[in-house]
């Protein structure tokens, strides 16, 4: 008998707990990525000497290196310098920073998509910078950005499995633990895959619909 049904049913509650951790880490990571990404995009746009170049390089560097290695760095290197946090927090922060580099690009394209006349009108009206960004540019830029953020949210949901390598007990980590203690990998890994699919497939269909709805009106 290849598939042990009783065993499969018995491990579902444990895997669902793992799924909850995965969802938590994804939401926390997305929050960090959305805020930090916005900050990075604005910093680049403001073109402050040195700062903008540093930010640009940081974004390119983060995008050019693997998430796993970044996670190892944060988890193994930082404690040597007195900064230590538990695996969950480290994982959420690392994945948040990693995705902020991608989200910065999304925001950038959103900001660039705002018509130049809007900027000119702001200048003509003599609006202060905070009002320009907060009331004029960002509300228009973010509209097109929303569905893309959704895409990255789903991507992060799947990528968070990588964090099991730094001992975060999320869905895959749970599946692996069950597998190694029972010497049966087939059921936990298959159920974990199905759980990932059950959440990410409908959400990506939803995001596709959002994408069409929020498409820029030309």
């Amino acid at each position: 008998m290849i598939w042990d049904n009783a065993f499969a049913v018995s491990i579902i509650p444990q895997l669902l707990q793992g799924l909850v951790v995965t969802v938590e880490i994804t939401l926390l990571g997305t929050l960090i990525a959305a805020l930090l990404g916005l900050a990075l995009a604005i910093l680049r746009r403001l073109a402050i000497p040195v700062v903008s170049q540093v930010v640009t390089f940081a974004v390119v560097f983060i995008r050019g290196t693997p998430l796993l290695v970044q996670a190892y760095c944060a988890f193994f290197v930082l404690p040597d310098y007195g900064i230590s946090a538990d695996a969950f927090t480290t994982g959420a922060i690392v994945i948040g920073i990693n995705y902020s580099a991608y989200m910065a690009e999304v925001y950038r394209s959103g900001i660039q998509g705002v018509h130049i006349g809007q900027w000119e009108a702001c200048t003509a009206l003599g609006l202060p910078a905070t009002r320009v960004w907060g009331r004029i540019i960002l509300p228009q830029a973010l509209r097109t950005v929303v569905p893309m953020l959704g895409n990255y949210l789903i991507q992060m949901f799947k990528d968070s499995a990588v964090l099991s390598a730094i001992t975060v007990v999320e869905l895959l980590g749970t599946a692996q633990a069950i597998g190694s203690s029972n010497f049966r990998y087939l059921e936990p890994l298959t159920i974990a895959a199905i759980l990932f699919l059950i959440i990410s497939y409908p959400s990506s269909r939803l995001v596709n619909r959002l994408e069409r709805r929020y498409a820029p009106q030309h």
């Binding site: 290849i2 560097f61 050019g64 290196t65 693997p66 998430l67 796993l68 290695v69 970044q70 190892y72 760095c73 193994f76 290197v77 040597d80 799947k158 990528d159 499995a161 990588v162 099991s164 390598a165 895959l172 599946a175 692996q176 597998g179 049966r184 990998y185 087939l186 890994l189 298959t190 974990a192 895959a193 990932f196 699919l197 990410s200 497939y201 990506s204």
Partner: protein, 232 residues
Amino acid sequence: MSAVVEYWPLLWQGMWTTVLVTALGGVVCVLVAFTAGLGRLSTHWFFRVPAAVFVEVFRGTSLLVQMFWFFFALPFFGIQLYPMTAAVLALGFNEGAYAAEVVRGAIASRPKGQTEACTALGMGPALRLRRVIIPQAIPAMLPPFGNVMVDLLKNTSLVSLVTVADLTFRAQMIRNTTGQTTAVFLTILVMYFVLSSILTLLTGFLERRFALDRKAKAAWRAERRFMKAGTA
């Protein structure tokens, strides 16, 4: 830094394993992308449905889950893969599923007139795809394919978790023996960055080389003339 200098040969070997996994994974990825991408465009449900299921399953689940599944779960069916095979297949299938959507999108977005002109000239569907539609679609595929390849390169770091001795695996090994965490991990971060930058440059070059519009192609020629002048 001493650990990095002392164990440099190990890191160097690991880097070549990473390059090898990327190259093999890339080949699998392109094969899978065209098979699944064309399958999804087929008029027969017999091809369309399996291709769609394949793409959605591999895009909808984590790469690492797939890799573990190939490595740990397949043996229960009596299929024992080498770590390297499992890693390359998982990488190739996963990225191939993403690239299949690129292939499908690029082919579907060709102007309808091209297909109609082929039909008018009496070309069959296979000839039409091979000689007209696919060659035209390739320039549109290149930029997203480049992204997929860079993703593939970065995701090769996951193969260390199924015991393939790539760059990340070697770094972990060196960390365990020397305890010099900072130097080792910063070094491999930079190595990955250099590798992905090279890949980005390479795909940029291919994009300009195979660009359809004249302006981009002229830019490519000018650049080549400039480079030749530079070496002469």
